[in-house]
């Protein structure tokens, strides 16, 4: 491997120049994992920003009791589309598609993924599914108003365009399965010489665990959504008690996928944190094996807890007992990760740059999200807060405070590598402070509102909830102002910022040993791995 000290200056175009195609075709028909990664990145970021706008509109509507800016039907549609876009078009494909594609093959010492064409096909499937979902908003009976869960019997009976929307999600699901298959095969078959399972970067371990969940759970979502379409067009009665059906069966089927999907969202984020913390604490990660194992344990145990979404749905007491117990079991591997990250920080030489700040925020916010999850996982307390704003706050702590903050951390950590330039540090820190403060004001307030009894998905509320709703809405403005500053600073830096060398953070994984930006084939000669991913001494990093 090339010694880190003798880095050439950044500026040769790497994979940006070497295409053989011109214009947009150099991107949308490219089979280079880095180009597909960037295609995914900009696609998911676009949908994220659209959903953020919808989320802000929801908060403005809830700023005061009664009508503020939209009517109740529009409100129902907006929270449905906010959820569908955030879940299915941003955060589920987000990590795997963008940073998984950009970084994983390089981290294992490969030239590309195992099936490059299938990789491109997965992006096309994603775009096709997204196009169908967007079409569903403007055709038929208008945007779906069921919530992102498409619960029966309402989803069977509503006149809005549910069928087309679930068909779009069905297609996006195929994209997810294809990416999962590709990543499992790549990690098994394309590791460089010396890249043993015990030397895999923890981001790769997290992608591997996630890929298995994608492969095994997503087909169940596909069939569930197909059954909604069958119900709407054929009246099969599968979920209709009057015809021998069972509406609870829909909830089982939906959550068999959709709870593991939460781990599709969060596991790669945990992988990102496991990369950032040792790099910015200048210390090998504490408990490598246990962090790797806990990714698999979360994927396995997390696939068996779906019933905790249904404690108040009329499910049997036996099932409530079993699913409640298993929900508490998932807390164990999650806690293993948190304790190991904190132990890594202990006596580290900590550098508080933007990626590290996002990682630290992740640990705190994810811990709050996880612990409030136990309140929902215990049947007795769940009955009090089920379907309240408490659930909305909890969910956003895990997914926004956890997965999305990790995504922002990954943007600051890895994007400079692929652009050859970096953002300005001070505005990045200010943006982080604004987002951290705004986030907590927005979502902690929601949890308090839920504890006081304000239901979720309601257009209007009692006057006693007004002050806290106003606070939450003001928090959302602070959050969004931080987000805008972060994006402007990051992208300005990527295109016009200070050039960087090949290893600006002093990290020890393979992607930092190749030129910046990476060449098309990643490695000039096949690397031979002789040390672990966080062995700074072995990598020759002071």
């Amino acid at each position: 491997m090339i010694p880190v000290e003798n880095v050439p200056p950044a500026g040769d175009g790497g994979f940006w120049n070497d295409t053989g195609k011109t214009g947009i075709t150099a991107w949308i028909f490219s089979t280079d994992h880095k180009r597909i990664g960037l295609l995914y990145f900009y696609s998911v970021l676009t949908f994220f920003l659209i959903a953020v706008v919808l989320g802000v509109l929801l908060r403005i509507e809830l700023m005061a009791p009664g009508r503020t800016i939209m009517g109740p039907q529009t409100y129902n549609a907006v929270f449905t589309v906010h959820g569908v876009v955030m879940v299915f078009l941003f955060i589920i494909p987000g990590f795997q598609g963008s940073f998984g594609n950009l970084v994983m093959p390089i981290q294992i010492g490969a030239r590309d993924v195992a099936f490059p064409r299938l990789n491109l096909f997965s992006w096309w499937l994603y775009i096709a599914g997204a196009a169908v979902i967007i079409t569903s908003l403007f055709t038929g009976g208008g945007p779906p108003d069921t919530g992102w869960t498409f619960y029966v019997p309402f989803s069977e009976r509503t006149g809005t365009n549910v069928s087309l929307a679930v068909f779009g999600v069905f297609i996006v699901g195929f994209s997810s399965i294809v990416t999962g298959l590709n990543f499992v095969t790549t990690i098994h078959r394309l590791r460089a010489e010396g890249m043993t399972w015990g030397r895999l970067p923890l981001f790769v371990w997290s992608l591997y665990a996630t890929a298995w969940v994608q492969i095994l759970a997503t087909p169940i979502l596909g069939i569930t959504l197909a059954l909604i379409i069958a119900e709407r067009f054929l009246g099969t009665g599968l979920f209709d008690p009057a015809r021998g059906g069972d509406p609870l069966m829909y909830q089982h089927l939906f959550w068999i996928y959709s709870h593991p999907a939460v781990y599709i969202m969060i596991l790669p984020g945990m992988g990102v944190i496991s990369e950032i913390i040792p790099a910015f604490a200048r210390k090998p990660i504490f408990g490598y094996k246990m962090i790797a194992f806990s990714s698999l344990a979360i994927a396995a145990a997390g696939s068996l807890v779906w019933g905790h979404h249904m404690f108040t749905s009329g499910m049997s007491d036996t099932a409530i007992l079993v699913f409640s117990f298993l929900t508490f079991v998932v807390a164990i591997p999650s806690a293993i990760k948190v304790f190991n990250w904190v132990s890594t920080l202990y006596r580290g030489s900590i550098s508080l740059e933007a990626p590290m700040l996002f990682a630290l925020a992740f640990i705190l916010l994810f811990s709050i999200g996880g612990l409030t999850g136990l309140i929902l996982g215990a049947a007795a307390t769940d009955i009090h807060v089920h379907d309240t704003q408490f659930v909305v706050g909890h969910f956003h702590y895990v997914i926004f405070g956890g997965a999305v903050f990790a995504f922002f951390g990954a943007m600051h950590y890895w994007l400079p590598k692929f652009y050859g330039r970096r953002y300005a540090e001070k505005p990045a820190v200010v943006a982080w402070v604004l987002m951290f403060v705004g986030f907590n004001i927005t979502y902690f307030t929601m949890m308090v509102l839920g504890m006081k009894g304000m239901p979720r998905r309601y257009y209007d509320y009692l006057p006693e909830f007004a002050p806290l709703n106003l606070v939450s809405t003001i928090g959302s403005w602070i959050l969004v102002s931080g987000l805008i500053l972060m994006l402007v600073n990051l992208f300005r830096g990527l295109f016009k910022g200070e050039p960087i060398d090949r290893n600006p953070w002093g990290a020890a994984t393979l992607e930092w040993t190749i030129p910046t930006p990476p060449p098309t084939e990643n490695f000039e000669e096949e690397p031979v791995v002789t040390h672990g991913p966080y062995d700074f001494k072995g990598a020759g990093i002071p």
Binding site: L216, S303, M315, S316, T318, A319
Partner: protein
């Protein structure tokens, strides 16, 4: 994984197809008659046999190597666990 192509005769494929049709008829019969708990277990058993035939012959798993068989077994085991766990609800409701 074997790269060799395995040709299955039309006669064999037709016989399996007819078998699948017969099992479909049996599924319909079970659905229309009150056979108690056998209603669910019988239907599931028929579905398993039908799925097994499709996987073994139409999807060529019978002629594949051990790795793919194990992967299929793993996936089916996960599916069985998913279905089994729903019975914590259905059987005790």
């Amino acid at each position: 994984m074997s790269e060799q192509q395995h040709i299955v005769s039309y006669g064999k494929l037709t016989a399996i197809w007819l078998g699948l049709l017969a099992l479909t008829a049996l599924t319909v019969w079970v659905a229309r008659h009150n056979v108690g708990i056998g209603h669910v277990w019988g239907s599931l058993a028929i579905a398993v046999v039908k799925g097994g035939l499709v996987i073994a012959f139409f999807m060529h798993m019978k002629y594949e190597g051990r790795l793919l068989r194990w992967l299929l077994f793993f996936a089916l085991s996960v599916l069985a666990i998913f279905i089994g766990f729903t019975f914590f609800d259905v059987l005790y409701r």
